[in-house]
């Protein structure tokens, strides 16, 4: 466990008097693709926000790639890409300008910046609409660009915070593809989701959170949706 990419030890996060995470322990290896499951309020989003450095822990430790949060937050953030249910884009800029801004913010080398942006626009199927303002985009297109934004700096870890909310078939399929590709490329993926079938299909490991701790943690290999659903009902009851 000592060399895990992500190490979480006795993580506590409380909002006022309400604890959301209660001494949560979790280790994630490089190249794993983890589905984070659990009912609303079980702490999935909170855990992802803590991992990305958006939120500070009340107690316990997190390290990503050997860097500790929150002390070395900038180094951790450089390795993380996040897709949430909000697109995190600027409506009055076009797709290319949005990506350019984030490329500068992530300090990508100027030389291959445009090349990288072209590649990603192509990848998410927005190359032809790259010059259009984001506010003219559909929800699905915004979310696709959001994926390009998250992958811009080629992060070690990709975090999905229920990005499927409100997506059409095509955009969901593309998100699935990218999730599988991330796994194939040996990158690490952590996705919070409600959909058990998607978890079985895309992830190599299922982690169920309940009342702020890990209630179930097993590889998805050899498990079908029904088996996972049974487990889910058992541990969250």
């Amino acid at each position: 466990m000592a060399n895990s990419l992500i190490q979480i030890h006795e993580l506590v996060k409380a909002f006022g008097l309400m604890p959301v995470l209660r001494k949560l322990d979790l280790g994630i290896e490089r190249g794993e693709s983890v589905a984070l499951l659990g009912p609303n309020g079980s702490g999935k989003s909170t855990l992802l926000r803590l991992l990305s450095g958006l939120s500070k822990p009340t107690g316990g430790t997190i390290s990503v790639g050997g860097w500790e949060l929150p002390r070395e937050a900038a180094a951790v953030r450089a390795q993380i890409g996040m897709v949430s249910h909000k697109p995190l884009l600027y409506e009055n800029l076009n797709a290319r300008e949005n990506l350019r801004f984030f490329a500068r913010l992530y300090n990508l080398p100027a030389a291959n910046r445009e090349q990288r942006i072209d590649l990603l626009l192509e990848r998410v199927g927005l190359a032809r609409r790259a010059g259009d303002l984001i506010r003219t985009y559909s929800r699905g297109m915004q979310q696709r660009l959001s994926i390009a934004r998250a992958m811009l700096h080629d992060p070690e870890v990709l975090l999905f915070d229920e990005p499927y909310t409100g997506l059409d078939q095509a955009a969901s399929a593309m998100l699935d593809e990218i999730a599988l590709e991330t796994r194939a490329n040996g990158r690490t993926l952590i996705m919070a989701t409600h959909e058990l079938d998607r978890a079985v299909r895309l992830a190599s490991r299922a982690v169920i959170l309940s009342r702020g701790v890990v209630a179930f943690d097993a590889p998805t290999a050899g498990m079908d949706t029904a088996a996972l659903a049974a487990k889910y009902a058992e541990v969250t009851a």
Binding site: R49, S52, G53, L54, S55, K56, A74, A75, R77, A78, I80, M82, S84, K86, P87, L88, L89, Y90, E91, N92, L93, E97, F101, F102, R104, L105, Y106, N107, L133, R149
Partner: protein, 225 residues
């Protein structure tokens, strides 16, 4: 790993300028407000030639401060609406770099409106406002408002009351700035000897330093959970 401070400040600033050049939302709404404001004051106070000289600096500064509130709300609402505050926070940059990027943008927009206002009032009120020292005071005053306002607007856009809370929260804190700016401007416009009003310009400069230091130290707390 971390993006250099200056690059991050410039990235945020450039993004704001780009958005503004495209939509002209900020300067447009602030400018229109400013124009309406001086017309309303002109009618409401029934400003004749003498009364104008007396109250012109008050009219100028009240207009500038409300215009800046308008712009600040817009500028920070843009960061909140699609969760962009999170997008900025996810990047490996210093939080204060985000602050300075936003601050410089807001300062430039408010200053543009202030300068336009000076020209407009010179024409409409038939007074000479285009004086070097008045411009200096305008620069210091708008910088001060932007410094305090960028910090406070970052807080208020995250609250339930949102836009309506900023003027209530910002006015009292910005009051020392407003007071010294009005006093200095009145002195300059009435052509009283420099030693009578120079102290106010100095106080304005000191206040800028104080507020900027406070904001620099406190910004990370208004942006991070």
């Amino acid at each position: 790993m971390k993006t250099p401070f200056i690059s991050a400040v410039l990235a945020v600033l450039w993004k704001d300028l780009q958005v503004e050049l495209r939509s002209r939302e900020l300067v447009g709404s602030m400018g229109l407000f400013a124009l309406l404001s001086i017309l309303i004051f002109s009618f409401a106070l029934e400003l004749d030639r003498i009364a104008r000289t007396e109250s012109v600096s008050g009219v100028l500064w009240v207009t500038v401060v409300y215009a800046s509130v308008l712009g600040l709300n817009r500028s920070l609402a843009m960061e909140r609406d699609q969760g962009n505050l999170d997008a900025l926070l996810l990047a490996p940059v210093d939080r204060t770099a985000i602050y300075f990027g936003k601050l410089i943008g807001n300062f430039i927009f408010t200053l543009v409106v202030g300068l336009t206002l000076i020209l407009l009032m010179t024409v409409l009120y038939n007074l000479t406002l285009t004086r070097l020292w008045l411009i200096v005071v305008l620069v210091l005053g708008t910088l001060g408002f932007s410094t305090v306002g960028t910090l406070l607007a970052t807080m208020t856009v995250q609250t339930r009351a949102r836009e309506s809370l900023l003027p209530i929260v910002m006015m009292p804190v910005a009051l020392p700035l407003l007071l010294s700016a009005v006093r200095a401007s009145t002195g300059i416009l009435n052509e009283t000897p420099q030693e009578d009003w120079l102290a106010w310009v100095q106080i304005l400069a000191v206040l800028n330093v104080v507020y900027m230091t406070m904001s620099f130290l406190l910004f990370e707390y208004v942006i991070e959970e």
